[in-house]
Subunit: 315 residues, 4 copies
């Protein structure tokens, strides 16, 4: 990540500003507000703004349940209860806004979460930065043999070099030709005064999917957790998980009680089907159960054994 001096200066200024407000604030989150946290080779994420904190969730829940709630539950107990029983609306009462720089192929995954607000840098209007994602060697993985949608072993040695060379060379070449077609360089200088450049909205099609873009992305706490549940999961592609992991940390700073409940009930939790419950009950009663007679498919059986760490029972 190379921030320009101008950008660094702007961030410094934003961070030094201090306003008075009657609104609730999240002091731990304020500490990192506006800061550009580096992710991957050129990406970053910045918390730009937020609304509410743990008490806003409690406040909204208490409007729903009336006076009675206050007596019977602490804030922490109430938030846990809401999380456990999938009460969604109180978590929608908090809002957060990020500024994210990320490779286009990751942006395409990200945007599938529709319940959010987005303003992306427009390559119809402006020229994209000459920055593209190249995996570091420890993330250069082969296709998984048993999971069509996952990674296998790390690629090493000559093959790794070859792959990285190809990625680098192709990205640079397509970017150079992008400038050539535009007849303009990123800094605004014209290449050949006698020619007119191709329309930006067309030239951009020559860029590779690892080119970086950036956007403002705003969502509420409920939908942030929906995003993190999928994208901080070990099934998620490493490159988006790198962003999700940093966002998990911002969640902890923002709404620490909600974060705890989220880690316990969502991230660390599991679901058990009606059939799965019967198997677990038999195990507890000490009955013999085997995969064949369980009524579960092999895949389901293994997923259940894995969820409860019963590895000796996997098939």
């Amino acid at each position: 990540m190379k921030l320009t001096k101008e950008q660094q200066q702007e961030i410094k200024e934003l961070q030094s500003q201090e306003f008075k407000t009657k609104r609730v604030t999240a002091p731990e989150l304020e500490k990192i507000l506006f800061e550009a946290i580096p992710i991957l080779d050129h990406g970053f994420i910045r918390v730009i703004d937020y609304m509410g904190d743990d008490t806003s969730i409690v406040q909204a829940a208490r409007v729903s349940y009336g006076k009675g709630t206050k007596k019977v539950s602490t804030d922490s107990g109430l938030i846990k209860y809401l999380m456990r029983h999938w009460h969604s609306t109180p978590f929608e009462m908090c809002e957060i806004k990020y500024h994210v720089k990320l490779p286009i192929f990751i942006a395409r995954q990200w945007i599938r979460h529709r319940t959010a607000n987005v303003n992306e840098y427009s390559a119809r209007y402006s020229i994209l930065d000459k920055e593209f994602y190249l995996p570091s060697t420890e993330h250069l993985a082969a296709q998984s043999k048993n999971n069509r949608q996952g990674r296998g072993n790390i690629i090493k040695g000559e093959q790794a070099k070859k792959v990285l060379n190809l990625l680098k060379k192709d990205a640079e070449q397509t970017y150079d030709n992008y400038e050539m077609m535009l007849n303009e360089r990123y800094d605004g200088s014209v290449i050949d005064e006698k020619e007119t450049g191709l329309a930006r909205e067309l030239a951009r099609m020559n860029l590779t999917l690892n080119t970086y873009t950036q956007w403002y992305w705003k969502t509420d706490l409920l939908n942030l957790m929906n995003f993190l549940r999928l994208r901080a999961d070990h099934h998620a592609q490493y490159e988006i998980r790198a962003y999700a992991d940093v966002m998990l940390d911002t969640l902890k700073r923002w709404t620490p009680i909600t974060y705890e409940a989220f880690m316990d009930y969502r991230v660390g939790g599991t679901e058990v089907s009606a059939k799965g419950k019967i198997i677990i009950q038999k195990f507890i009663r000490g009955e013999k159960v085997n995969a064949e007679e369980s009524g579960l498919s092999k895949r389901e059986w293994n997923e259940l054994m894995e969820a409860f760490n019963l590895k000796d029972k996997q098939i």
Copy 2:
């Protein structure tokens, strides 16, 4: 509106709190934060929290358009441009949260705006306040003769008295019977120690639609304007317009530039159909046009004449 002493005290405390933040603030809105602004006979609206201001819209638009934008447009010019061309996403970058007390029949209209977050007081869980809306005499209107969905002349004299009496008596009686069925009064006291009350989720069905409820309602600036465009309009039912009018004032305090553009392009503006444009052009060229040959229906013709204040041409 009768706030309890407890509520008045809570509002005072909220208003006296002062935090430091690096986030942008809207000083004019801060002045009325948490304040309960009275609406109708027992309702109110309070701004509870907000995120962003006019500069947040500009900031988001400039992420989209890149460096070029800054040079060519002022903040105000940019916001006007965005409003005029229906650019929606930058306006979604601001968020506001209200606490509203309102009659149930108005809540049912309001909730039809789906792109918002809501936590409503639950009558399954708690007992509703003994408060119901009774129109003031200047709003007691007869059914309109020519608009099936509107009001006509004000009802006066004996008939007005009769109507108000019926509304009052029925609301009070159904509320008394609600308490009777619950075997419990609003203050928590039991009516007959020997009996058990009906479930709250059932007893509430005896209440009339003018009973007051309350909720937290949170939305983004774009959807707030969509709401206000419909509900601050003179076609809207008076009772919801009373809320919308107060919200218009909070919009002005929050994002004054956006407010100006909204009043000019949306509230004060009009739409002209393809056929309507031809009529207007003919008028400008001084040609004779009459309703019959215009290709417009009578209704369309009158709506167009009304929009441009050409009353002499209405039929």
Copy 3:
């Protein structure tokens, strides 16, 4: 439920129509298309239109996963897999539309599901039917002692009669006064030719919350299941569950494979938190665990024991 002769005739005509289409059809659902299935005392639900069936889900998933999918999985296995792993988008490819007649207090619960399309009968525009919900005696329950949001024992004898009388009398009286204020009866006849009636948008506020309304409600299969998961649950209020139960049957007719997976993974399934998983593992290994040292709250402990039917371990 009293359908007018006119309505009965219209339904007969709709049911006798037969068109040719290239679209997929759901034969079991076609059998009950347009039929008004009675619910509660005056309510009903009708399936009015639908799009897609189980194969539409499979088709969408296979677009995502490409050619490879077809070889490795049957339709049924694929749908189960999607359900188990919370893949949501393929289930959004099917759509269904209902016509529902329901009491207003239930409509207010229902409308909280925002991801749906709704057109409701407008009491600003037309006069509501003289129909209100009165619980049958076996559903007349007392307030639960231990669940602030639930029902306890059935109320019987004199108290039951008293409650039903109050509900009936208040609903009838407020409706009669509604007509009086309107100066018009439901059949359109004017009450007093010398007077003008109160505006409909005002008069409706005198009605009680058990008055019936009706609407068209359209949603996709994913959101239908989200609705049913909450509203066909035993924690849901009986009156909305009555609708959800009938809708479950329409789901079975429409997409039988999805229905099976939904019953297994969602309705019959349970969630276990990170802490809960440790408890279950200890039980399976035959270790002693007690509530106090479990790290769970009493409430969590009991919910876990109940989910796995370990009643002897509840506290």
Copy 4:
């Protein structure tokens, strides 16, 4: 567009199927159901499924307005009225599903319309087709001089050749290297048996943004019109307009009355601000108005003159 023989066969089979249904059908749309309509050089659009027609809109509106509506308005008059007054919910009662093949940079624009359901071909899971968009010579435009987000003159001669060569060469080379890194060709054949290929989710990042992807895209009629209003507009990028134009034709086949109203009020219509209305009124009264004293910015003035085709008054 090259459909494989397998695909052509599948389409034939789908088109020859004939089911009986009680649902409303749109005969003109049935005629082209499943057909792949070519767009750009390799893209296509297919209508895959639909629900409802013009009568569904009318039916929903009449539920809202009750019995009265039927007498006072024809179907066509009612649909026009709804469109003119921005009544949105009745148009949400119809649903359509498309299968689209389109270049990735266009997919990125398209997906910004959030109120739709999408299943896209996953390049994490499968290998993308070797197909990329190359503009035809009549669409190879220079950057506009006065509109940062638009196209200017057509590029011709040597420069055109050069641009097309660069686009072609870069797309082919990056695709070849994509296969090389995957160690697998699109047809599934392995390149070097001794090596393992890079994970698909990584290799895809080497592709250029003009590579074709495909998806199923489903939306309701209201949101389809919102999409078409923006994307069939002359300000839209040509490549997405090419899709929108074909979709406009499917709209006409599906709901012809709605299509007419849409063309008149939305596509052909214009908006006039409060200030703009005053100018138009002055023109009609024959008063002198000039841009400077109008209270409009130059840009606004010109947009207003253009909307009403008053070209002589532009500045």
